[in-house]
Amino acid sequence: MNRTNKILRYVSRRLLQGIPIILAIIVLNFFLLNLAEGDAVDVLAGEAGSATPEYMEQLRAKFGLDKPLPVQLLVYLKNVVTLDLGYSFRHDMPVSKLIVDRFWPTLLLMVSTIILAVGFGILLGLLAAVSLNTWKDAVITVFALITYATPLFWVGLMMIVVFSLNFGWFPTSGMENIAAFHEGFDRVKDIAHHLVLPTITLSLFYLALYTRMMRASMLEQYGLDYVVTARAKGLTERRITFVHVLRNALLPVVTMAGVQVGALIGGSVIVESVFAWPGLGMLAFESLFARDLNLLLGIFLLSSALVVAVNLIVDVIYSFLDPRIEIG
């Protein structure tokens, strides 16, 4: 197929374009982190209680932290080129293993949040636009504004108080019931049960953005000529809304979703913290304060690669939604 070929070529070109960006991010963060006082050895020694300077020097030599910065960077980059993300100073484990362990929970939370936020955002935005200037519109608009303006951790803590403690519907935190160690389908159910509150909390913030965007987008589309044409063709308002306007109105929302995914990866630090969700955000947070350079760079590498990939996927989806966009 010509189109498939074109898309493949486009994808590989975009991925190539992403590489210098990701490298730049690594180099930038490498130097930023080295600007900071203290290194991983200081933290380890500090936590350990005490350690002799000689022992700390040994550790630095072992981690390669005694070499000049450019050398450290080159060694790191060389390893990255061979897809070796190095060793976490703090965890004594390969970075790739640590990250992969945290990647799936991150992805799970991210995907469920996006689905919930985008799905409901579209629904509410559509409803608000269709019932423009009625009480429904007002309620949805106010709801969206309030969820946007409420600090995330506040919502999270309140969710726990109300739904875990008062109603007992959901567990307070974590990803699975670790007293039970479920297997198979029970485990899936258990994880889904744990996923509910963090997903709702995180998606409430983004839900507001999508709702407002969808509403505005719908209204804008309603004003366009092709809607008049559709009416002149004698189509029902239902079809005009759901077939003609909806699809066009979705386009900017899809673009926005692509941009938000990037923000989501980092933005979930607070939700991960509140719900003890084992995601990359918290890992990054912890490794920053532990000066676990390799680990933090690894997370930056993975998450920026993820952003590049998601943006690419969004663009490909976009090209299917909007035939005007030609890929390749």
Binding site: R13, L16, Q17, P20, L224, D225, Y226, V228, T229, A230, R231, A232, K233, G234, L235, T236, R239, V243, H244, R247, N248, L251, L321, D322, P323, R324, G328
Partner: protein, 546 residues
């Protein structure tokens, strides 16, 4: 009284409060019969489009609504019928085509689906039947390879093809009435001729009544059986096409018709041999640059201007005519160095300016000024009129008071009140803005004025005034002018010589009268033949000229 297909009786449409007048249309009466084409003609704001929309119940509610009157279609009054009934009528018994087919079609739905919808909502047919019918329709409107077209999206078609698809859609269920709202305004002249022909053919096939909204008397002459002329919401005159066009009664009709430029070229003027601008082998290619990191896709290459050479003689008006995409605007922008070109030379007063840097160019700039097409886009909305005009002299080193004096003087030259000095552009009408644009260009006392479609966005009566103004100042200031237009009527009245362009190349150069009376190139002939109202013109050799 014979039974009309459609009769509009005493129809008034109310505008929202705060609008400049109470009624968009006031007490309008119109009738339309089967097989007949009724042209409603008028300038912008005359209410002609709203009349058409009112028939379909497509007024932008709730702001604009029918105040009184009736629209009788068969035994029903379209003002009173239920929404559901109106919906049934739309698309099946009365259908409509619009001015801009690009925006009137849903950009993300295939042509096939957009036609298919009509059948799905108005007729019970199987999928296969619907498909067959749709392909047949596309064939009827003479679209090439209809099966293929079914799967294409609007942006993949040319303007003319899109309008054909629109027409196919409108005619899908053999409507009794076809309403065409300026269907050819956005199209090139040759395409326009084809679409008009198609509408005529379709009409005779289906015996529909056609309500045709237009501002162009040429088009009226070509297509109408009867004409209604509208002015500010009122029908000032109506009648058979011959009668209205050739023996108009109402002064407004008369003035409109008088303002239509004649196709007969103006009297040739004394020609100077002194060349002001000399263009040699100019080439301009769009696209093809590589991006910074070399990863970017190489863009499609368009040869916008190819190997163009021409001279502009002192005191003459050189017309550059061509359809959209012919490269005429690009050429003009290259000549005055608004765009860099790939190779070739441009000389002004014998000085080659093609290699000049920014600083060197600055004094030269004053010699060549430009008047732009869009009176709304060509003035910075955030700057006062006086400052807009005074800007040029200031930049060229004049003192503040000199620049202001010059600006005030020019305001009166272009016929504007000196109070305009402290106003902002949005307070002016299109024609007034175009005057301001001209004043700005004249502020630097240029030798050459490049006018890029200066009147194509204006109503015909305003157009005549602006053309007259340009002509006056050309004489008054001894200007040489490059005049870019797609409208051969305008070209005939303004230009001394004409350059015909197509696909970035000059196909023919000659004096206006040569080109009009004896075009040599096939394309020039085609262009001339496509000018609407040509027949009417022939009958009225002596019609008003400027």
């Amino acid at each position: 009284m014979t039974k009309h297909l459609l009769s509009i009786n005493d129809l008034s449409i109310l505008l929202p409060e705060g609008a400049d007048r109470k009624c968009a249309i006031d007490n309008v009466n119109l009738t339309l019969n089967a097989g007949e084409t009724l042209c409603v003609v008028g300038e912008s704001g005359s209410g002609k489009s709203l009349t058409a929309k009112a028939i379909m119940g497509l007024l932008p509610a709730p702001h604009v609504r029918v105040g009184s009157g009736s629209i009788n279609f068969g035994s029903e009054d379209l003002v009173q019928v239920s929404y559901e009934r109106l919906r049934q009528i739309r698309g099946s018994e009365i259908s409509m085509i619009f001015q801009e087919p690009m925006t009137a079609l849903n950009p993300v739905m295939s042509i096939g689906n957009q036609i298919d919808e009509i059948f799905r909502y108005h007729a019970s047919m199987t999928k296969l039947e619907r498909q067959g019918k749709a392909i047949q329709l596309l064939k009827d409107v003479k679209l090439p390879d209809p099966k293929q077209i079914m799967n294409t999206f609007p942006h993949e078609l040319s303007g003319g093809q899109r309008q054909r698809a629109m027409i196919a859609m409108a005619l899908a269920l053999s409507p009794k009435i076809l309403i065409a709202d300026e269907p050819t305004t956005a199209l090139d002249v040759t395409t326009q001729a084809q679409i008009l022909k198609l509408i005529k053919e379709m009409q005779s096939t289906y015996n529909s009544g056609v309500l045709f909204i237009t501002h162009d008397f040429g088009v009226v002459a070509d297509i109408a059986d009867r004409v209604a002329v509208m002015q500010e919401g009122l029908i000032v005159e109506s009648g058979k096409v011959d009668q209205v066009l050739n023996q108009p009664n109402h002064p407004y009709t008369k003035s409109l018709i008088a303002a239509v430029p004649s196709l007969t070229p103006r009297a040739p003027r004394k020609k100077s041999d002194e060349s002001v601008i000399e263009v040699k082998k100019l080439n301009k290619v769009f696209g093809g640059e590589k991006s910074f990191f070399g990863f970017g896709k190489s863009k499609r290459i368009v040869n916008a201007v190819q190997n163009v050479s021409l001279d502009l003689f002192q005191g003459e008006t050189l017309g550059i005519v061509g359809e959209s995409g012919s490269g005429k605007s690009t050429l003009a922008r290259c000549i005055i160095r608004l765009m860099d070109y790939d190779d070739g030379d441009v000389s002004i007063d014998g000085t080659n300016i093609s290699k000049m840097g920014r600083a060197e160019m600055r004094p030269v700039r004053a010699k060549m000024q430009m008047v732009f097409q869009d009176p709304f886009a060509s003035l910075n909305p955030r700057i006062k009129i006086g400052n807009i005009i005074a800007q040029g002299p200031l930049i060229q080193g004049k003192s503040k008071s000199e620049a202001e004096a010059r600006a005030r003087e020019l305001l009166s030259v272009v016929g504007l009140d000196s109070k305009s000095y402290d106003r902002y552009p949005h307070e002016f009408s299109g024609g007034q803005r175009q005057r301001i644009g001209i004043a700005r260009a004249l502020a630097l006392k240029p030798e050459v004025l490049v006018a890029d479609e200066p009147v194509s966005a204006l109503d015909v009566s305003i157009q005549a005034q602006i053309l007259k103004l340009l002509d006056d100042i050309r004489i008054q200031m001894n200007l040489s002018m490059i005049f870019i237009t797609h409208d051969l009527r305008v070209a005939a009245q303004v230009c001394d010589r004409i350059v015909v362009m197509r696909y970035g190349e000059i196909v023919e150069v000659g004096t206006t009268s040569e080109i009009f009376s004896n075009p040599t190139h096939d394309y020039s002939k085609e262009l001339l033949n496509a000018v609407p109202g040509k027949g009417w013109e022939k009958e009225n050799k002596n019609s008003a000229s400027l």
